[in-house]
């Protein structure tokens, strides 16, 4: 997937051209809008142009629905348009993401009661980013229905959905975050280059030097064959995956936010030092923040949130997290991942109500939270339930641990420890970078690109984990 992956030669060339033309056309919105839309479609359709048709279809349906909702005086018509749009969006998602899983599960069930395997097994290609642009479309029509945003023109909705920095793996942008920015031309004399360049470089390092290195040297070998590895290696692989997925996903969104900043647009924050969380609730305020706020606003609160009593609150938390798990893919491993988070958050809430006044020491709260998150990651990373349980069973095994080297331990510890570094340190680093002469900045960033490419070596940059969702 070279063209949709940021750290590639093709994307670098693509972005330089888009950057020049975007700023050249910025004073002319009538030219800029079609340009950025076509650029985004080229980016998305590079691998398979048919995916663009899917995206265009989603944009058309949701634009029409939003217009009906905005213009119709009848509440019934507005509600029908909303339901139709959501049904279309979820139908799209289910067809591409869940249909083959559903059919194979039914087939297995029928087979187990002696009815054979009558259903045809299917192989459906999952278009990259479909979960992200579908959730974004749902949030747009719901926001229009709730009166939280105005219905936008077809062109604006198309850009909102397709804007290439966030298209394939988020952040999940809400209409009222991007549409107002689209209405005002950006100032080419004031590009937010400090945070923009810093985020791109930081994301690149996270991905190439940390995430891919951990995947190759410890995580993949151990998860591929848990029984051949010692308990220490298994633990290192579990902690390693926690570090890998953070650096992989937050690295991608750092780059996405940085690229958007260089084009003059601000996308919402998606990570805020998640491994410092002192509770699961805190974790979800820091991890994949745009997904958790989506789940809160469009699922948890409509289900009743915490307004209908304690039991209903636990049920709503559990349902929200289970569906959040299923959003990642049709597999029991994701369901259990969501279940662990939902269960742990319910227990936290129950504990707070039951033991009011009790304050757990911060270090203990951190330790418990981090390990519950790591336990859930075991299921998230494992290809099937058997592997997940093999991993957990192997934690207590003895034997030599040649894969657990000093550099690997350092990368894992550094990933967690660096989150404790205060924000103003990074701001000073940003300031330092952006106040150097242009040539010095270019040389420094170029050197980092060389080091990052050396770190990934001949294997090349691995696809981002969240591309599969």
């Amino acid at each position: 997937m070279p063209a949709v992956s940021f750290p590639t030669i093709e994307f670098a060339a693509f972005f330089v051209v888009v950057f020049i033309l975007s700023w050249a056309l910025m004073p002319h919105p009538r030219a800029w809008r079609p340009f950025i839309l076509v650029a985004s479609y080229v980016f998305y359709g590079w691998i398979d142009w048919r995916w663009v048709l899917l995206l265009v279809g989603s944009t058309l349906v949701n634009t029409v629905a939003a217009q009906v909702i905005a213009r119709s005086p009848s509440q019934t018509a507005r509600k029908r348009a909303l339901i139709a749009a959501i049904a279309f969006d979820l139908g799209l998602l289910c067809t591409f993401k869940y249909l083959s899983f559903f059919v194979s599960q039914c087939d297995d069930a029928l087979d187990s009661i002696g009815l054979g395997s009558p259903l045809p097994l299917m192989q459906i290609v999952l278009p990259i980013g479909i979960s992200f642009f579908t959730f974004q479309a749902i949030s747009y029509v719901v926001d229009v229905y709730r009166g939280e945003t105005r219905a936008a023109s077809l062109g604006d909705v198309a850009i909102l959905q397709a804007f290439f920095p966030h298209l394939v793996a988020g952040p999940i942008v809400r209409a009222n975050e991007l549409l107002p920015q689209l209405r005002t031309p950006r100032d080419p004399r004031a590009v937010l280059a400090g945070p923009g360049l810093f985020l791109i470089v930081g994301g690149f390092i996270k991905k190439t030097v940390v995430a891919d290195e951990l995947a190759r040297k410890i995580v993949d070998p151990v998860f591929n064959d848990p029984s051949s590895h010692s308990g220490l290696e298994t633990l290192a692989a579990i902690y390693g995956f926690a570090a890998q997925i953070y650096c992989d996903f937050s690295g991608y969104t750092d780059m996405a936010i940085g690229l958007a900043l260089l084009l003059g647009y601000q996308l919402p924050q998606n990570f805020n030092r998640p491994y410092l969380a002192l509770s699961l609730q805190d974790f979800w305020r820091r991890w994949h923040m745009t997904l958790s706020r989506w789940l809160r606003d469009y699922l948890y609160i409509p289900l009743g949130g915490n307004r209908k009593g304690r039991a209903a609150t636990y049920r709503n938390i559990m349902l929200t997290m289970l569906l959040g798990g299923l959003w990642h893919g049709a597999a029991w491993t994701f369901v259990i991942w969501g279940g662990i988070h939902g269960g742990a958050m319910s227990i936290e809430r129950w504990g707070r109500a039951r033991f009011q006044g009790f304050r757990m020491p911060a270090w203990l709260a951190w330790l418990i939270t981090f390990h519950v998150v790591c336990l859930a990651w075991v299921f998230f990373r494992s290809p099937d339930l058997r592997t997940a349980f093999d991993m957990l069973g192997q934690v207590f095994a003895g034997g030599p641990s040649p894969l657990l080297t000093l550099p690997i331990a350092f990368l894992i510890v550094a990933t967690v420890a660096l989150q404790a570094v205060r924000g103003d340190f990074w701001e000073r680093a940003e300031t330092w970078l952006v106040t150097r002469p242009v040539v010095a900045q270019g040389i420094a960033i170029g050197a980092i690109l060389v080091i990052g490419d050396a770190a990934v070596g001949q294997n090349g940059v691995a696809p981002f984990i969240y591309f599969q969702f």
Binding site: P2, I9, E10, F15, V16, F19, I20, S104, D107, S117, L121, Q123, I124, V125, P188, R189, A190, V191, L192, A193, G194, P195, G196, L197, L199, G202, G203, P221, N224, D225, S227, S228, S250, D254, Q269, F271, R273, D384, L418, W426, E427, T431, V438, V439, Q441, G442, I443, I445, G446, L449, V450, I451, D453, A454, A455, G457, Q458, N459, G460, A462
Partner: protein, 326 residues
């Protein structure tokens, strides 16, 4: 390194462009070899031609000036594969394909015991991953210690991107395996150069050259017959063009395996589903979605089928597996 909105530091768009161009220029100059590799690994087409038309002259220049040195140092620091060393992959005699007399003799290999298990190394391209994992599950764990290393997107027709001959020597020296399973071929649609002439996968010259390259790597993996090498070329593919290339590869591998001591050709092309492509295979009476969406790779459940064929091939060399393979 999270986004912050306080104290935004701004620059003019022109200055930002300057930073990007200088940074990419530096990266291209010091990483020119990687650019060539990236270009070589792309699908044939305009993008590949453009990248290579820039990267190759740049690489020649960077090599002449000595700009490769910092990158070579970094490669060593990150323990990456050395690109130095003579390679027979890109050129050599087809004499290696002559029938070998040692091949006729019955070969005996180290047999596993509970005290000393066989160290089996499964490697190859991305197809090796699931096949290796399933094979690991199938083999008795008290007799076989299996390690799996899949090198995604690699093949024998693109040694500038990844040199399997050099890698084979390095892996054998580092791991000292008792047996090797090589699952490879899905990325080998590239033209090959023979005596300065380019040949496509639909020509007999390509097939001969592919057989020669296979034999070179087989020899290195098998250390000239001291350990068995089970070579598994690709299965049938959904795409007819790929299918033709894979058929040609299978013939080439069969030819190479006849010549190299210790080498075994494992035919998953004509044996699975009688040589006809199908997404679905019947395994142990159950219909299984055996292939991934690309119509080439096996799914994890489908990888049972090729892994069983490898198991059967191994059973001919390892007595301990014979009962289970029947």
């Amino acid at each position: 390194m999270e986004p912050r909105r306080r104290h935004p530091l701004t620059m003019a768009a022109g200055q930002v462009l300057g930073v990007m161009v200088i940074a990419l220029g530096i990266a291209a100059l010091f990483n020119s070899a990687a650019m060539v590799r990236a270009g070589e690994s792309m699908k044939r087409g305009n993008t590949r031609d453009i990248v290579l038309s820039i990267a190759r002259p740049l690489d020649d220049f960077a090599g002449a000036v000595g700009f490769h040195l910092p990158r070579d140092g970094l490669d060593k620091a990150f323990s990456q594969q050395s690109k130095t060393g003579r390679s027979r992959l890109e050129g050599g005699s087809t004499a290696i394909l002559r029938a070998n007399k040692r091949k006729q003799r019955r070969q005996g290999f180290f047999q596993p015991t509970r005290q000393h298990e066989v160290n089996l190394f499964v490697t190859g391209d991305s197809e090796a991953q699931f096949v290796g994992e399933v094979l690991t599950d199938m083999l008795p764990s008290d007799l076989f210690d299996v390690s799996v290393v899949a090198r995604n997107a690699t093949g024998l027709t693109n040694p500038e991107f990844f040199n399997w001959e050099i890698n084979a020597r390095q892996e054998i020296a580092a791991r000292h395996p008792d047996a090797v399973v090589m699952v490879i071929g899905g990325n080998d649609g590239f033209n090959v150069a023979v005596n300065g002439q380019l040949y496509g996968p639909d020509t007999p010259q390509w097939q001969l050259e592919y057989a020669r390259r296979t034999a070179v790597v087989m020899q290195d993996l098998g250390s000239n017959g001291t350990r068995p090498v089970y070579w598994v070329p690709p299965p049938t593919a959904r795409d007819t063009e790929f299918n033709k290339i894979f058929a040609s590869q299978n013939k080439a591998v069969e030819q190479a395996a006849r010549a190299v001591p210790g080498a075994r050709y494992v035919d998953i092309y004509s044996t699975l589903n009688h040589g006809r492509y199908s997404d679905v295979l019947k395994i142990d009476g159950d219909k299984v979605l055996a292939r991934q969406a690309d119509g080439i790779h096996f799914s994890r459940a489908g990888a049972v089928a090729p892994a069983r064929l490898i198991f059967r091939a191994m059973a001919k060399d390892y007595e301990a597996l014979r009962d289970a393979s029947n």
